[in-house]
């Protein structure tokens, strides 16, 4: 059931270049699954901002979102203080199907601000006893965040586009060069990265999570559609039918 909630900011921290980690508290029981997102109304802006869930603490009913400053709206959000109220629609969208998957080894492939939802996913997979390997791509050293947290989940490769930290190159270079063992991969990041990842791993089982400019966030406005691979004249709504899709279901770019 989707709700409009008044959340409270428990903490806000600058964790990398123009990247903020915000912990939000709810009055009600959380039912947030890995891959889902919340749609935040920033005061003074017409449209909400979709932001994915990076971590959840069911016991104290708080959860973490990580966002990057892309424009005036996210900049205003980065100026919210502890105790401020955040108006959010939640929980939105589909989740990674971890309940139904019977796997022992998983590969997480994240790029930039697509990395946060993979952390909560990785945590849940590890709880289920799945061995998690992560490949994380960032623009450069100053953009890197959550490296240690991913290392706690399992083997983690970090790469930067400019080689200023970790490996040099794209996540696909790391996957190609490393002999990774996994049954299912999960990927989130910019569309060109998802295109490269899904074509490199086309013979593997995988799930991807997409982002797009959204209107309503709940499926009424048809702003965030993506064509289907097997029938490009049909589309799915990223906000409602996604953001998580089977890697072979949708046509990227």
């Amino acid at each position: 059931m989707i709700n409009k909630q008044a959340l409270k900011v428990l903490s806000i921290k600058n964790i990398a270049y123009q990247t903020y980690e915000m912990v939000l508290k709810s009055d009600t029981e959380l039912n947030l699954k890995p891959g889902q997102f919340i749609h935040i109304a920033v005061k003074g802006f017409m449209l909400r901002r979709p932001i994915s869930i990076a971590d959840v603490n069911e016991i104290d009913r708080s959860f973490t979102v990580i966002f990057k400053i892309f424009g005036d709206g996210t900049e205003a959000l980065s100026n919210y203080h502890v105790g401020a109220e955040v108006d959010a629609l939640m929980p939105l969208g589909t989740s990674y199907p971890i309940e139904s998957l019977n796997i022992k080894q998983a590969l997480l492939v994240g790029g930039g601000i697509g990395i946060p939802p993979l952390y909560y996913l990785g945590k849940k997979l590890k709880e289920k006893g799945v061995e998690v390997t992560s490949v994380l791509g960032y623009q450069s050293k100053e953009h890197v965040f959550y490296e240690d947290k991913f290392r706690e989940l399992g083997e983690t490769f970090v790469t930067t586009d400019d080689g200023s930290y970790g490996h040099s190159g794209f996540v696909t270079d790391v996957i190609r060069d490393s002999n990774l063992s996994f049954e299912t991969y999960f990927s989130c990041g910019p569309t060109p990265m998802l295109q490269a990842v899904t074509s490199l791993l086309k013979d593997e089982n995988g799930y991807i999570s997409l982002e797009e400019r959204m209107g309503c966030g709940v499926g009424t406005c048809y702003a965030c559609v993506i064509p289907l691979k097997n029938n490009p004249n049909k589309s799915k709504k990223i906000c409602k039918d996604g953001p998580v899709f089977d890697a072979n279901e949708v046509l990227l770019g």
Partner: protein
Amino acid sequence: MNLAVSLPGLELKNPVMPASGCFGFGKEYSQFYSLDKLGAVIIKAATEHERYGNQTPRVAETASGMLNAIGLQNPGAEQIIKQELPYLKNYRVPVIANVAGSTIEEYVTVTKAFNHTNDVSALELNISCPNVKEGGVLFGTDPELAAEVTYQVKNASNHPVYVKLSPNVTDIVGMAKAVVNAGADGLSMINTLTGMKMHLKSRKPLIANKTGGLSGPAIKPIAIRMIYEVRQALDVPIIGMGGIMTSEDVLEFLLAGANAVAVGTANFQNPLVCPEIIEELPSTLKQYGFNSVQDAIGKGH
């Protein structure tokens, strides 16, 4: 307080309805509240065949508003009647179908499709969508074409027809007169204004369709002015829309001459906006000295 309004084909328990294209076919927002609360529902535009719509990005935020260029994506009139309308029967709320097309023949075909269902109470004739290459706003900016499509649709329809006017014209009264003389039972105004936003990083228009329809509070003064002018010239039912966010906005539209109102963009910001406005409307009317909705209509003249 009496919020009821009686219009051709529509007995409204209150004058507030979600605008076409901002409410899908009702299912999503019924997760937030019972659609029984609404005066009516205007469903997303229907064309003869399924339409994919435009490429993404399809929306962009602007100061006090947004641009959209969805491109009339819909599953086609027959599918809407079969798959979408039955759900709305669960609620005691009149449904207005929005009829779109690229040719007069298509408008007539879609109109006839809705003749076979009792699940809609009226049609909103969409001659003002700025986001499709053919038809749409072409019909809405030429009074002769607008009159012709109105006449043909009115002839083909067994439901009352409200013609949705485009604000992208210099003479809104001329357009209103043309469609009313051609048989329109009412007007719905205004649709979006054609706009554009540049994306600085890519040095290109942000929206894939390049232009989009501007909606939201940014266009409210234009809507109020146009409704006022049309109300001065004509005695015809008007469903007013354009940037309504609050019950005070509703009163402005009523004063300008609207008989009922539709709420569009505001639904995206606040899914509960329609029931919240309906709940606040009695106290707003009372605050400004009105005893009913009917009492306030046209009182700004």
